[in-house]
């Protein structure tokens, strides 16, 4: 049997039941990486030695009964913007090409404590800025469904690794759709939780008020299980929130009777690929058949989310990325005269084009004379968007729509026109601005065979409602594996 074809929870159970050893699981992941990695380029770092060593330790802990959780012994890949002690953490940027953190991100620490085995670090858009994983300094990741297409981004490596079955599950991060959009493009499931649910300690910041870590996996059960393991209140992150409930798996119930689902008319209009629209509306129909009450409504303000996002995220990025100066870690230019020249040259040589573009924009909108016109205006827009969602959730339990307007674009088609690329995030970005939880689940494929993602959005702290709706929908269909993943069956 191909162990990598199993979900994380299925594999974890086999390990717990002693049907499979942790070493077998890790070796299966490494074998699949060897077989497909040259094609997809999901990883920046693969830690074969470390993973095999850790497998032995975890096996002992399982045998002694010390570890009994659902993820013990299961191979995981971590997006390369989360710090892992002693293991290269690059953010897919030249400026961090040699950076080995001295501590591990809180979310990753939770996984380690649960016995998950870190197999490597996944490729991403540089500093999570991009929607295609093409801005990585270490080469683009390819879509496992069709190697001529992008996997989406910025968590493209995490999503392609899960789809190509190079790991059992992965962690991604989502600032404007960076988990949900690539999950949609790669035919996997990903959750962006309510802001503050998962500690950002050790997550290299892009837009701090929007960034959230989340799980990427084959199905909703895995995602709920992983979320339960990594969510915590952490005093090391001042925006971390103490929630009343963390038992996300209790929502894995195939029942949506009476659930009120709203579809924003604004999410079905111009720019939406007709095949995506059809698949998403079919998914809504399935939920209706199961007893959900589905209706369309006017959410409003959707077209203002992207401009507001780019002001806020760029502003925060320009401040967050000021720390990369060639002094304490990362890249330092060889050729400079004096301190300021060293700062400027290290940064200019170390950052890629998209990162520089956003730092410049962010510096501009925060500069004196423009702060009110741009930055404050964006924060006011954010307030209006939040209000529009508040109003919607007075009426609906869940908002349903596409995760992205199209399926995965071809490689090299997106970067030449940044604004067009930014528009691809139209359905995901407002969710970050309002701090809401969102999930993307596969809901079919287009005529080119590329996956389509259904997005379900919940009110703050209502993860369980979207998990339940997503699970009920998922029960109506089989998980679709790509041919590259099936290579591991032989």
């Amino acid at each position: 049997m191909n162990l990598m074809s199993l979900t994380a929870v299925e594999l974890g159970k086999k390990i717990k039941d002693k049907e499979v050893s942790v070493e077998d699981a890790v070796k299966a992941a490494l074998a699949q990486i060897k077989s497909v990695e040259n094609d997809v380029n999901s990883f920046v770092t693969i830690d074969e030695e470390g993973a095999l060593k850790r497998a032995k330790e975890v096996q002992k802990q399982i045998d002694s009964g010390e570890l009994s959780g659902p993820l013990a012994g299961v191979p995981v890949a971590i997006k390369d913007n989360m710090c892992t002690k002693g293991m290269l953490t690059t953010c897919s940027s030249k400026i961090l090409e040699n950076f080995k953190p001295t501590y591990t991100a809180e979310a990753v620490l939770h996984l380690e404590k649960a016995g998950a085995i870190i197999i490597g670090k996944t490729n991403m858009d540089e500093f999570a800025m991009g929607s295609t994983t093409e801005t990585s300094a270490f080469g683009a990741t390819k879509n496992p469904w069709n190697l001529g297409h992008v996997p989406g981004g910025s968590s493209g490596g995490s999503c392609s690794a899960v789809a190509a079955e190079e790991c059992s599950f992965a962690l991604g991060s989502d600032t404007g759709g960076s988990i949900r959009q690539p999950s949609s493009f790669c035919g996997v499931t990903g959750i962006k939780p309510t802001y503050g649910t998962i500690s950002r300690y050790g997550l290299i910041a892009y837009g701090s008020s929007l960034d959230q870590i989340g799980p990427v996996a084959k199905d909703v059960t895995d995602c709920a299980t992983i979320l339960e393991v990594i969510a915590s209140h952490d005093t090391k992150d001042s925006t971390s929130i103490k929630r009343d409930d963390y038992d996300f798996t209790s929502a894995l119930v195939d029942d949506v009777k009476g659930l009120k689902i709203g579809i924003p008319i604004d999410y079905l209009g111009e720019g939406l690929d007709p095949e995506v629209k059809e698949a998403v509306l079919n998914a809504a129909e399935e939920l209706k058949k199961k007893g959900a009450i589905v209706e369309e409504f006017d959410l409003s303000l959707v077209e203002y989310a992207i401009p507001a996002y780019y002001i806020i995220a760029s502003a925060e990025a320009s401040s967050n990325l000021a720390r990369f100066d060639g002094v304490k870690y990362g890249y330092r230019t060889n050729d400079f005269e004096g301190l300021h020249s060293m700062y400027k040259k290290s940064r200019s040589e170390g950052f890629g084009a998209e990162v520089k573009r956003r730092i410049m924009l962010g510096s501009f909108v925060l500069s004196s004379g423009y702060y009110d016109a741009y930055y404050i205006k964006a924060l006011k827009t954010k307030a209006l968007i939040k209000k529009a969602f508040d109003k919607a959730f007075e009426k609906y339990d869940v908002i349903l729509g596409p995760a992205a307007p199209t399926t995965a674009p071809k490689l090299d088609d997106s970067l030449s026109d940044p604004i067009k690329m930014y528009l691809g995030d139209i359905y995901t970005i407002s969710v970050n601005l309002a701090g809401l939880p969102g999930i993307s689940v596969p809901c079919g494929r287009d005529s080119k065979g590329l996956p389509i993602g259904l997005q379900l959005i919940g009110d703050c702290f209502q993860e369980k409602k979207i998990i339940q709706a997503a699970y009920a929908y998922e029960c109506t269909r089989e998980y679709d594996r790509c041919d590259l993943a099936k290579k591991g069956d032989k």
């Binding site: 000021a322 301190l339 006011k380």
Partner: protein, 97 residues
């Protein structure tokens, strides 16, 4: 209204951003920023009169905790990441003449 970014503006933003752009990059940056601002300007269609700017989605104020040291002295490992180091410190170019 189409935004025009001048050489002076790009120069000034470069100083704020601590970036040294090549002539080619500057020309591109002027174009990119103008396009982006044209796009962003559509926010002006929105009436935000009297709206409070929202920086944090939840009503979280200052969060305090006791300042207790939980990590150990990690100087050696931290310095391993330093581009240049000397005598247990980060080495930087001369900062004061």
């Amino acid at each position: 209204m189409a935004n025009i970014i001048t050489d002076e503006t790009i120069e000034y933003v470069g100083i704020l951003a601590k970036l040294e752009l090549s002539e080619e990059e500057k020309e591109q940056a002027k174009k990119d920023m103008a396009n982006m601002l044209d796009y962003i300007d559509r926010l002006n269609e929105l009436d935000t009169e009297g709206v409070e700017p929202l920086s944090h989605v939840f009503p979280v104020n200052n969060v305090f905790r006791e300042d207790i040291i939980t990590n150990e002295d990690d100087r050696e490992n931290i310095l391993l990441n330093a581009p240049e180091q000397k005598n247990g410190s980060f080495q930087v170019p001369k900062t004061v003449e």
